[in-house]
Symmetry: none
Subunit: 144 residues, 2 copies
């Protein structure tokens, strides 16, 4: 089980989001017979690529909004900005990245208002040139 082909990847893709789908439907979606599909799934399970099937349990507490702040700096690196960012409790993760952007900041806030305030605070930090905000509408895939 070194390399998975496109069919294997299609199986993983569908099962990772619809784990309770009947084998027959899965077979139809990937264009194989039911028995062949079952064999592939069994192989993927035994190879450890499918570790199990989990219900995705919603959180009991509501009102948590997550967002990505894409930050461009005037000069990089910028320790000052990182220090300031670390001061916000709603900041969950900050990654320095290559390319057009400089920082990807992941935040979790209680409301749109809180997000807006945070956004303004970050945008006004010394050395922040540009900032675009993308609110997470839905977490489509989440692993490990």
């Amino acid at each position: 089980m070194q390399n998975l082909d496109a069919t294997d990847r299609a199986i993983l893709g569908i099962l990772s989001r619809e784990a309770r789908i009947p084998m027959k439907s899965l077979a139809g979606r990937i264009g194989l017979s039911r028995s062949a599909t079952t064999e592939r799934v069994t192989r993927l399970e035994k190879a450890g690529l499918i570790r199990g099937y989990r219900a995705d349990i919603g959180q009991l507490e509501e009102g948590q909004i997550e967002a990505f702040l894409m930050v461009t700096l005037r000069r990089t690196p910028s320790l000052g900005v990182l220090d300031r960012l670390a001061g916000f409790t709603s900041v969950r993760r900050v990654s320095s990245v290559s390319g057009q952007l400089d920082l990807v900041v992941e935040v979790r806030v209680a409301s749109i208002n809180a997000l807006n305030e945070l956004r303004n605070d970050v945008a006004q930090l010394e050395n922040v040139e540009d900032l675009t905000t993308s609110i997470v509408l839905r977490r489509e895939i989440e692993r490990s």
Copy 2:
């Protein structure tokens, strides 16, 4: 659906680890009939407490390079793209977001070559209009 009783919690507990279990077996484990169990599960699903069922996908090999792929789609939403993305074991998280972008895809790969191949694969997916890649240089802040 404010307060879930002990039976509901037992259902969530079992399904969160064995999502593909037959309703009859689940019913036996919690001490109810199959139809009553099905009703409870349906209620939990409709209440949003069970958001879905996902296969737990393992990784082929441990990678050390992480990156963000910022994806713009031609039409949204796009189930096909999500299915395909979920098929790549190096894809760790996918978020639908508002704004200029449509998807933020977080990946972990073994090498720059692997990232390049993945990037090409994703860029060529049906319905993907634009794709920009930001390699994570350093994880500056990481919480919970």
